[in-house]
Symmetry: C2
Subunit: 574 residues, 2 copies
């Protein structure tokens, strides 16, 4: 559980690259070297090539974007100190302003749509698609066709060339998002960049910057420039800062400006709470926990204060136009998600989902990629209904859920209560899971919490892949189980989601190096090892031609004598 982001990996885990089929693009993965002549095992790798925070990552996709010839560089909307909030204005300068490479923002040339969905629908296979097909070990045509149909998205803002393409869709591996971001009460830019790097090291597929405190613009700049994974945001948070935290003063104009600011920076997907309609708000009044989404409550407050329809809804087509020029994907926010198990699957929640379905279709008219956000807090017996309805109503657009938490009684353990719901909902078709850390409901995650959240969700996502019978998914379980059965302790650690913790826990009981090659394990000691006796049984059966068919009784008497002669005790104490 210790170590810093710059820790070297265990030597048996190293990053290697596989060339993609058509263009030979080097696609990263983690190769685990195994002992005893076993083939190396390859794991999906989200950690990126590594960067110095003040320099940022190389622009992997810049040439791919440029060579398509459909974007233009332009001056951009003009940076304002107010983008960093009131304290920056007071100070008269941004804190730790980005000094690394600066590029003019790109956007689609007039009347072009530069989204992966537009290309996919036009039958074009992009390098992004090829990259993800190699990562996913699937046919690139599957990627293209799923993106074309709206059933998968490849978030890839033309202004975030540093990102390594990844795909979110139910036909592919289940993905995990990690939330980071400062708040009015805590944390610095450097800490947030460190959390980003730490989260992607442990397997976060995307990262959302949910900053609400000072230096929002600058924090995001550092994050985007250093991120090898797509970055998501909730732009209403920053818009609210620009109106001094007074929701009633929010307007489409302020919001639009903020969205463009973030499009130009390279944000890959944005949560937009356009489904919180005025008429839905009173439907939350009888709930136990009302509205628990920050964005949802901001928009609900605005709707009531103005008695006008949510401006995100009324201006949705304009948002689509903007997104289509940068290839920003919608993450349609579930502002009315349930905040406790009692409120799950209620009228407020499902009304909003209907509206999100309508908005999905509208975005697709602009070739804009869409995923749809889901709850929240849901008893296990109501989980499947969530993904079934979303998949049905939203025509298969990827579902992206927060948990859901299967019970409300365990604050401090909500990474677990939510992983229970998350595995279940992912098995039934959710494409990406937003992690929950042990600090949920109690405070902001620190670095250790980020790691615990990511690992917990990686295991949930993988368990769902196994349950979905995703090709290759169980190979990983099998490789680790074989190592376990054969007492290849180092292989077992190196194949683990978190080798450091596995090794540390083992060493607590049996710290000596020989214990890692011992033919017994740290639970039972040498005499009581079931793995060992089971190996004896297998060897016995194999050597004597017994199969897993029913062994005929005849002939067994002789064999049992042999067995006794060959060792008698199955517990040969060393």
């Amino acid at each position: 559980m210790t170590g810093t982001p710059s820790d070297t990996r265990p030597p048996a885990r190293r990053k290697v690259h596989t060339p993609s089929e058509r263009y030979g693009i080097p696609v990263p993965c983690t190769e685990v070297t195994l002992s005893g002549g076993h083939e190396p095992f390859r794991l999906y790798d989200t950690s990126g090539p590594g960067s110095k925070p003040e320099v940022g990552l190389p622009p992997l996709r810049a040439a791919w974007v440029a060579e398509r010839g459909d974007v233009e560089a332009y001056a951009g909307r003009g940076r304002s100190l107010a983008d960093d909030g009131r304290s920056a204005v007071r100070r008269g300068e941004a804190s730790r302003e980005w000094r690394g490479d600066r590029r003019e923002p790109l956007r689609a040339k007039e009347s072009q749509r530069v989204t992966q969905m537009a290309y996919a629908r036009a039958g074009i296979t992009t390098k992004e698609m090829e990259f993800v097909a190699t990562r996913e070990r699937c046919d690139v045509e599957l990627v293209r066709s799923e993106v074309a149909a709206g059933r998968a998205i490849i978030p890839s803002n033309v202004n975030h060339p540093e990102s390594e393409p990844m795909v979110i869709g139910r036909a592919f591996l289940v993905k995990v998002n990690a939330n980071i971001g400062n708040s009015a009460v805590t944390s610095s830019i450097a800490e947030e960049v460190e959390k980003l790097t730490w989260a992607t090291r442990w397997g976060a597929d995307t990262v959302m910057d949910l900053s609400t405190g000072d230096d929002i613009h600058t924090t995001r700049e550092w994050i985007v420039r250093n991120s090898p994974v797509p970055i998501g945001t909730v732009p209403i948070y920053q818009a609210l800062e620009k109106v001094d935290g007074d929701a009633a003063r929010l307007s489409w104009e302020v919001f639009r400006d903020t969205v463009i600011e973030q499009c130009e920076q390279g944000v890959d997907y944005m949560t937009i709470h356009a489904g919180v309609l005025l008429r839905y708000v009173p439907r939350t009044a009888r709930r136990i926990t009302g509205i628990v989404s920050r964005g949802g409550s901001i928009m609900a407050g605005w709707c009531l204060a103005h008695h006008e329809e949510n401006f995100l809804y009324t201006h949705f087509d304009e948002l689509c136009e903007i997104f289509s020029r940068y290839d920003v994907a919608f993450s349609l926010g579930d502002g009315l998600r349930p905040g406790c198990t009692a409120d799950a699957n209620d009228e407020a929640q499902l009304s909003e989902l209907r509206t999100l379905a309508e908005l999905t279709s509208r975005a697709w008219e602009f070739d804009v990629q869409v995923m749809v956000e889901g709850p929240g807090h849901v008893p296990l017996d109501l989980v499947k209904e969530n993904v079934d309805l979303q998949q049905d109503w939203c025509h298969g657009a990827p579902f992206y859920t927060l948990g859901p938490l299967a019970t409300d009684v365990a604050p401090g353990y909500d990474h677990i209560t939510s992983a229970i719901g998350a595995t279940h909902i992912a098995w039934h078709g959710t494409a990406m899971l937003c992690y929950v850390t042990p600090k949920e409901h109690l405070g902001l995650p620190n670095r250790d919490d980020v790691k615990t959240g990511v690992i917990t969700y990686k295991l949930a996502a993988h368990a769902a892949d196994v349950a979905k019978r995703h090709p290759y998914a169980r190979d990983w379980d099998d490789a680790l189980s074989r190592a376990r059965f054969e007492f290849r302790w180092e292989d077992q650690f190196n194949l683990s989601l978190d080798p450091d913790t596995a090794r540390a826990f083992h060493d607590e009981t049996l710290p000596a190096e020989p214990a890692k090659t011992a033919h017994f394990c740290s639970m039972c000691g040498p005499k009581f090892c079931s793995m060992r006796i089971s190996q004896d049984v297998r060897r016995y059966a194999a050597e004597r031609g017994l199969t897993d068919e029913v062994a005929p009784r005849a002939g067994m008497d002789e064999k049992s004598r042999e067995f006794v002669e060959l060792g008698s005790s199955v517990y040969v104490t060393p």
Copy 2:
């Protein structure tokens, strides 16, 4: 996460007693005092009255057993130093021999059956049944009829009068077992008693003593005398010690003697691997992880070495006779359970389950209570089949599962991978869950691991109760969610499964005392609090007669003006 077993509880959580309906037996529960005039909330309580380890607990049930007039005290089998293993014999004395109260063992008078099942079938409602009905807040007739039908058990050895009765069955709250016990490589008697007390403090409903190291008999004596919950064991572990760890030297006679020794001590249920039949053993040969149950591998080794049928199977009726005289329940062991997801639901596993079903019916002929053990490691899509088949084949006998783990790739986090499967299988009808700690596959749990395992499984069990729509289950979620929504921070902590951790996590971000009465939370700070804005929305809707029906547009303009006038900003920064 800190503290010692003798920690005083938070003052807002105290043990109170409710008198049972007919006999007025005081039944314990935890009462949580809430603030703001809210009714106190009552939680199920497994911690017992508390004991000095060297004195033990008072014999709560002794009079109940005696007044039935069907047991007799007798001299007992005679204690031997060999019961504590070779090192005790070498030393010539037991280590920390029990010096507390000693009672002659009880057993049924000749031809009597003193099991709860026998009473239930005879239409007798015992005090044990009444105690559990009060704990479960259900009708006592439900308890009696479920026990009579074999669908529930009340483990209650007449020689363990210290235990507070509890019921295991799918009609009741899902229960959690915690494993403790020393091994050849670690730990002392005092540590094991401390783990017992610690486990029941956090909610373990039963505890299994899986000791395999020195001082087995004496360790168990200390545990039973101090345990307010039923104690389970795997007697083959001790039997193996008695034959110097040489499985081939095991015999029915040694085993029988060990079982009687443990019956006389007060063990409430015993895992018996009587379903590992000779002909099933070769069916494990092609598995990835063979046989992973220690008891299963011992019996498989014995069967192969002797080429004889498992003596636990051939002598099963004799075991039933013995168990019926003490009211010891069978926990029919799944010695061939899968040890990795690849081996789940295979022929070896299901063959054994068929045999366990046969043994269940045989035990019931002797009025002996039975539960059936289940896996293990199972992909989520195969979990339900396990409980469906077990419930069908075993005529509804309670299922007692270890996890199952939903994936094999996360050693160090197997409390989580298994809680995912456990919640799922409990939702579908498993009656008791055996916890898994973070050390699973890596080492033996220490005190912190025991707590993490118990809390993780309590949340899994409760999430299953909620999903099963168990009466009262969601009340707990609702009470906590209301406290959360109303910023009653102390109530939220005190209602939590683990108040200490919830409070500590909150204090990490906002340690000052005023923060616990603040009307915002530690995640977002004062400006961004969705709970708060949502309360504003609710108040607004309530005061103006808006319901959760669709609010008519007409009249809303006026209301929105009011809303603005009444506060304008929904974010009134303090």
